[in-house]
Symmetry: C2
Subunit: 135 residues, 2 copies
């Protein structure tokens, strides 16, 4: 199960907060029943294009991972939560929306892996939601 | 641009080869014009379910990442290559197919981010390919 999140209208201060990103990667796995197999890795990126600057982070969980990339100048972030077992996607979406004060979240859930052989068969469930600022 | 790969029928020896996984994560970014912002991180996982054992790794590149999880007992692996700029997805697919001697590869390309506002609008291009063993 792979939850893909694109979040818009986030708070730039929170999106720049590498400590917040690290806490999210450190704490979110256990909150959805997953087990980290290594500590999170978080980097602040300031490359050639200021619009691309932001915070990137990653945590490995048992045969799966969570990644996050923030783009404060665009009030945008993306998150991937990929697990070999099912989890409460709504709880993840709500938590991320609140943590980063997102005004809009687009999500996609993919079923992947040996039990879901083809991309065509994969029951991709696209949902789109708008929510008011939650913080 | 997010390339999602599920690969089947891979060589178990290669799927267990953490050195091969690390070399892939170390070298693939530059081969498709991406820049690493940290060294790859690779872990071998042996948890409660032997069927889930395998090698997991990721590398952060500028505001994006590559992840890989192998499941040698299932001859399966998955790879995500996520970049804020476009890249040659065919070259990536061919390289991974060869590196791990995959017999079947299902792929999905998603356009994500601030320039592709809704999941509905995202031109998800699903392709499915079968290839003979290449190694």
């Amino acid at each position: 199960m792979h939850l893909i999140i694109d979040g818009y209208g986030g708070d730039p201060g929170r999106l720049w907060d590498s400590g917040l990103v690290e806490r999210f990667l450190d704490q979110h796995p256990s909150s959805i029943g997953m087990t980290k197999i290594a500590p999170p890795e978080v980097h602040t990126y300031r490359g050639a294009q200021p619009g691309d600057w932001g915070v990137s982070g990653f945590v490995l969980i048992a045969e799966s991972h969570i990644s996050i990339h923030t783009f404060p100048a665009k009030a945008y972030l993306n998150v991937d939560i990929f697990s070999c077992k099912s989890f409460d996607t709504e709880a993840s979406i709500a938590g991320i929306t609140e943590d980063f004060a997102l005004s809009r979240v687009d999500t996609l859930v993919l079923e992947r892996g040996i039990d879901h052989l083809s991309a065509e068969q994969a029951r991709a469930e696209v949902s789109q939601r708008r929510s008011g600022l939650t913080a």
